[in-house]
Amino acid sequence: MNALKGLILILLFVSSQSSLSQLRIEITGGAEDPINIAVVPIDWKLEFPQEEYLHEIIKKDLESFGEFKVLPPEGMLSFPSTEEEVFYRDWRLLNVDYLVVGHANKSEIEGELKISYFIFDIARERVIHKAILSGSIKSIRRVAHNMSDKIYKKVQGIPGIFSTRLAYIDKPSLDDKNYNLRISDIDGFNGISLFSSPQPIMSPNWSPLGDRMAYVSFEEGTSRIFIQTISTGTRSGIKLEKGINSSPNWSPKGDKLAAVLSKEGNPDIFLYDLKRESWSQITEHFGIDTEPDWSPNGKSLLFTSNRSGSPQIYQVNVRSKRVKRLTFEGTYNARARYSPDGKSIVFVHRRDGVFHIATQKIKSGKVRILTDTSLDESPTISPNGNVVIYATKRKDEDILAGITIDGKTKFILPSLRGEVREPAWSPILD
């Protein structure tokens, strides 16, 4: 069948694109008990060969964070592509929990394809999802990621994150003397520099719809917050104040930025109203207040303050401006981010002089250290709450690494370009 012919063609096309990618997921430790799933090569009914195999991309996606083990085609007894062609016993014999089959056809729309696919629960002997997925032939990787997201959602019950993107900052290197703000797909493909400058760039933050990026640029010789529209490259600086202008963080509604200004003499948390183009003050203290992060419900902000003598995480109610201290373990807790359910925080925690990423349930206050690397910083949480990517060091080099929130799977994202830092995970992009 077509898929088998396809397997031979794979040798011709594989890795032509991966050599261009800037970040790659490399698993360093995995979950003990993955879900077994088979993804049968999609029956390709278009008149030209597939340049990249959908089932291969889906396999890589699902295995990214250690939750799934995907059966390769070599181990399959049959290659169904429709609902009728599936014999459950074939897959039970192979200890498969779930099965994905499908076929791809040309669409009525020029340059597009349509994939009819089915997800089966083998133990229960039933179809748990059938869909017709359309997308651009040129963006075949996005089509595959979209399928991976649907499979993930149907099996795990929470959204998949394989169509999301990652923003990060490149350190200047011998090849490129500029700082670069880059984005790539979460698997490291399709990397592009969004903004390039001979002066530092910091603190990238996605708008809630994932269409714009806020970041700090020093191009004017001082820190200033800029907003850039991703699809057009159009950018503009927001109203500049004296001193530090930094740490932008979009409100869940997208109408405001929380940020840090030091115009009153020391850094405090402010809100910038994007429509009125005006600032209003949230915290007022002679110490350092910085690193704001909006709660998912938009009612409060996390921030770091040294008002107690050492940096600790606080929460401020945006309306009442009432401040509450959240961290009490250790003498360095900073750069906190809310989990998507708003019940936990992930932050930088120093223990025995070593900086780790830690998590804490807001209510119980109990700290759990997630990482065993050192000089860890800038944690960013996947929009489904399952994975944390952070910046760390490997042999004195700035790299990105990740860990699932249950601590079971660790991975690194080695850059093919040079040193990288400040990862920022996009929201789910529709």
């Binding site: 039933r126 059938k130 530090i244 770091t304 992009l429």
Partner: protein, 154 residues
């Protein structure tokens, strides 16, 4: 409940459990366009650069540094120079927190210049936090070179 309603409910629930409906899904294209800084700041016009070093997580200037600032203040006033003070940190700690720490270093130096007679209108301060290290490497030797303030005159 009438028989027809019952059978309708049964067939409905059958549809749901059997997942009879086909959903229509769409994978969106994701495009992005690059931009770059034009006419970015450079040190063009800076005539001298003096450096002061700091202890970890501290922004106070030692006696050696104070003597250096006194001398510099005399030159600045004599020659009518403008001053740009840049505060820097080592890589330990979070980036935004270090940006605040770098500012407090730059401001301490600015205050000392003012105490020594330099007009505050001649002084500007900027913090680069840990973004522009003088030395790479994750060890005390590099870190001590990176915890610094630069006093640039023009």
């Amino acid at each position: 409940m009438t028989l027809t309603r019952k059978s309708l409910l049964i067939s409905l629930s059958f549809l749901i459990t059997a997942c009879g409906s086909i959903s229509n899904e769409r994978a969106s294209d994701a495009s992005a366009v690059s931009a770059s800084a034009s006419g970015a700041y450079s040190d063009q016009g800076i005539t001298s650069s003096n450096v002061l070093y700091f202890a970890y997580d501290k922004s106070d200037v030692n006696s050696e540094g104070r003597a250096k600032i006194r001398n510099l203040a005399k030159i600045i006033n004599k020659e009518g120079l403008n001053v740009r003070i840049e505060g820097h940190c080592d890589e330990r700690g979070t980036r935004e927190y270090n940006l605040a720490l770098g500012e407090s270093r730059a401001k301490t130096v600015a205050e000392l210049l003012v105490i020594n007679g330099v007009s505050s209108s001649k002084i500007s301060t900027v913090s680069y936090g840990e973004e522009k290290p003088a030395a790479s490497g994750s060890n005390e030797n590099s870190w001590s070179q990176n915890r610094r303030a630069l006093i640039k005159t023009f």
